[in-house]
Amino acid sequence: MAYAYTPGLRVTKNTIIRKNRLLPLKGEVLVKKGDKVKAEQIVARTDLPGDVETANVVNRLGIEPETILSYMLKKEGDKVEAGEAIAETKPFIKWFKTSCNTPVAGTIEKISEVTGQVLIRMAPQPVELRAYIDGTITEILESEGAIIETRCAFVQGIFGVGRERAGEITMVASSPDEVLKADGIPKNCEGKILVGGSLVTSEAIKAANEGGAAGLVVAGMHAKTLKEILGYDIGVAITGTENIPTTIICTEGFGNIAMATRTFEMMKELSGRRASISGATQIRAGVIRPEIIVPVESVETEKVEEYEASALAVGDLVRIIREPYFGRIGKVVELPPELTKVESETMVRILKTEFPDGEKAVLPRANVELIEN
């Protein structure tokens, strides 16, 4: 490879985030450049075409498709009510008349002389797009949406489930290695984003749901807990649309792992502040990580941490992201260039690390994550 690139998750107190808020179909943008918006504010709206139902006229009336038009009572473009007759036979004896009624209300979209079916388009479904973050509109994309910018503290998680929400950051753990159980969840946590420690149990998640929490931020959970709360096992890490009452963000991974001290301390500092969170995760081309965004007041003299991917260097702090040292933090003491055989007999580029207790270890470079400063 041309360079060693070991990206870590971003955990920063002061940065600028820009979010593209885009409608799925062209519609109406409700804000203008320069507007200040709140997370829950609707910034754009559109109508998704309604669902389509079919009426099999030829089967109902017992006619040939190419004759359908002569039996139709409605034409393309006509509005219809549910149960209304849209076609009927014209027998000599009216008693023997057969009708075909539309199963739904809508508009006649197509009458097919080939298949003999009629397509009815139901009422459009309105879609409203919220700002998601408190910020300022910096650009309008005509008929499509807007770009919103905010100065904020920004924390990326490794994996999450649940949609975009906003709430107040509330610490419910006193140390990063504390397990969050049901008794650690406040009875009424309506609209709060609860921050725990190393692990959250499924009972704690249920209690958070019942208490009305908007979000849960923890270091990790067991894989089986995730399966319990979703009702199914996640096969690929593409999330964000789960129908769950509380968005959950894991900062470290699966299992009982202490939250990174830097992340925990930062969340403690931000306690009481409003935040926007999203559990959306996509681990494939176009990686998306779950995130916590906490707008901060603009402090002109404070330097904005601009994000720059960096290569690994001696002296860097790294988190180990695979067995046998999963979750531990070490300092890089050497970066040998030559390929080295590890226990599995894989030949890899390694690094040598030293842990705070003095223990030393040799690790594949692919198994660490840079702790960004």
Partner: protein, 598 residues
């Protein structure tokens, strides 16, 4: 007539890595001489695939001393130590080609459409059929939810019924699906059904889609004609999917041949090799997100992509589909279940990590066995003979058919099994690759096995379209790592004494006479390029592919691992008792020399 080419540059733009190879003509033979790679650059902040391509070529320049790029452009033709005669490329960046297909009858035109799309290198997101039991509104909703790059619509033999295929066209029109790449583009729809329905389909779809017509993929019940549709798919892939992806327009201009989807190119080299050597081949490419299986049996090519089975992005799916017990059965040690589930999920969210410990490696290779096995099962279901061929039926009767044709994959006829993908090509010991492939595919009789050394099959596939000889030279000399040969029982049973008795005459003349009990593995080193002679007789009731109790005499080709004799029976069943199972697996591991002794 093939072009005169002396220096060939080829790249494959994968989702994560762009790999470049340099091929040179040495005398009369083409050889791969250098390889370079660099991260693929379609995503932010780069958003231009050619940057990654140039970076990978940069590595080639460093290693070879040949100047290939000047002022950001590839120098052609080759002159001395400068330039190349042709640049070709494949791509699977951005998730590859994703399609939806539709046919009138699920097991007939539906399946034919699926084969057409898969053979063109696509991932098939869904197969709609008039008789798939989903009500119309569900079909329409499904089309709306998916965001395919294009749709292949088929149905009706030429001169036959039009109703079902026009109905499907009406559903597509009603759904009005938007393509993945941009809300303003019209979705390409290829109609390759009853030619008499062409005008009706055009009338329904041309306002909302970009409609293309290709020859009917099933002009009669007895005949499948997939090539024109596959060609059209690849053309549109280039025009629509590739051209929208950042930097591809430039790449298309640089390339001396159309850029192919990676899996399509792998299929191409498989077909070329099978045809040239007149053999039946199965190939597998197991990646992070998907596992592709290719087969050429009696000159019929099939490809399936199991988009839900892979070693990182979709490793959790492998566990979900196969179940914990099936993963644990290949391990000779106890594993805490909760720990295993967490490890697998952690690999899913951190896909670029690699196994450091031996246990971790064995767990990964156990998952690989299951992913390969399941992908192969899916392949066997699709690589089938044509249904509806035996009798003349009207479409109404055919409509009710749910049984598909018989599988074309007859393992006793398999000559060569080729593996590719990180877990196979980069296993720390080649024996592990051979072992995983035997356990997953369960070859019977005499089968050769090989792996792709550095994943250059895509490059050779696209090269085969412009210079077949160059592609096959490099395939045979540089691409294939011959692992050896497996001789296996074709059935299961019991044996009072040995399951097989054999006389093996090695290349140096040494004779080995031995037997092997039922349920065991034996490995004999036999180098690549060498041949040994074997006379092997199964016990009464057991079969080596020649009939029960019948001797097999054959010349056996060697490889980096050698000759494996497998008397574990087919289908392979591990002992039910956990201690007996662990002990058997430990014994087989040792016989294979699969792992270091601890």
């Amino acid at each position: 007539m093939e072009q005169e080419l002396n220096v060939i540059l080829a790249t494959d733009c994968g989702s994560t890595t762009t790999k470049a190879i340099l091929i040179e003509k040495k005398g009369d033979i083409y050889r791969q001489v250098f390889r370079g790679e660099a991260p693929t650059t379609v995503e932010a902040p780069f958003e231009d695939v050619t940057k990654g391509v140039l970076n990978s070529i940069g590595e080639l320049e460093d290693l070879s001393g040949r100047k290939i790029v000047e002022n950001g452009k590839i120098i052609t033709p080759a002159q001395g130590e400068r330039g190349v005669d042709i640049y070709i490329s494949t791509s699977s960046a951005g998730g590859g080609l994703q399609m939806m297909v539709a046919g009138a009858v699920k097991t007939m035109t539906g399946e034919s459409a699926e084969r057409a799309a898969l053979g063109a290198g696509a991932i098939v997101m869904d197969v709609l059929a008039s008789n798939d039991k989903r009500p119309p509104h569900e079909k329409i909703e499904r089309i709306r939810q998916l965001r395919p790059d294009m749709i292949l619509l088929s149905g009706g033999t030429d001169g036959g019924t039009k109703k079902h295929v026009v109905e499907l066209a009406e559903y597509i029109m009603a759904a009005n699906p938007k393509p993945r790449l941009g809300m303003s583009f019209k979705l390409p729809v290829i109609f390759a059904g009853n030619k008499d329905a062409g005008e009706n389909v055009k009338e329904v779809l041309e306002a909302t889609s970009e409609l293309h017509i290709a020859d009917n993929i099933r002009p009669t019940l007895e005949r499948e004609n997939l090539f024109p549709a596959r060609q059209k798919i690849q053309e549109l892939f280039l025009e629509h999917v590739m051209a929208q992806a950042p930097g591809y327009k430039k790449l298309i201009e640089w390339a001396g041949a159309p850029i192919m989807p990676t899996p399509s190119a792998v299929g191409e080299i498989m077909r070329t090799i099978a045809k040239k050597n007149e053999i039946n081949v199965i190939g597998v490419d197991i990646g992070g997100a998907t596992t592709d299986v290719f087969s050429v049996f009696e000159e019929v090519f099939n490809r399936t992509v199991s988009a839900n089975l892979g070693m990182s992005y979709s490793v959790s799916n492998v566990l979900a589909e196969t179940g914990l017990e099936n993963v644990l059965r290949w391990l000779p040690f106890k594993v805490d279940e909760e720990d295993l589930r967490n490890r697998i999920k952690n690999k899913m969210i951190r896909p670029t990590t690699i196994p450091q410990t031996l246990r971790d490696l064995q767990i990964e290779q156990s998952l690989a066995r299951e992913a390969l096995r399941l992908a192969f099962e899916q392949h066997k279901l699709l690589a089938v003979g044509l249904k509806g061929v035996q009798q003349q039926r009207d479409v109404g009767a055919a409509f009710d058919q749910t049984q598909t044709g018989e599988t074309l994959i007859k393992m006793e006829g398999l000559d060569l099994l080729v593996g590719s993908g990180g877990v196979l090509s980069h296993a720390p010991r080649r024996a592990q690759s051979m072992y995983m492939m035997i356990d997953a595919f369960q070859p019977i009789g005499i089968t050769r096995l090989a792996v792709d050394s550095i994943f250059m099959m895509p490059h050779l596939g696209v090269l085969a379209t412009v210079h077949e000889n160059a592609a096959t030279d490099v395939f045979e000399k540089d691409c294939m790592i011959h692992l050896g040969t497996c001789i296996s029982l074709a059935n299961k049973g019991k044996a009072k004494g040995n399951a097989v008795e054999y006389k093996l005459t090695m290349p140096d003349g040494k004779v080995v006479q031995n037997g092997l009990p039922y349920g065991e593995l034996a490995l004999y080193p036999l180098e690549a390029g060498q041949e040994a002679q074997i006379e092997i007789t199964p016990a009464r009731g057991l079969d080596l592919g020649n009939g029960k109790g019948k001797q097999v005499s054959a010349s056996i080709e060697g490889g980096i691992v050698g000759l494996v004799i497998d008397t574990r029976g087919r289908p392979l069943e591990l002992p039910k008792d956990p201690e007996e199972r662990k002990s058997s697996v430990a014994r087989w591991n040792k016989a294979f020399g699969a792992y270091p002794e601890v």
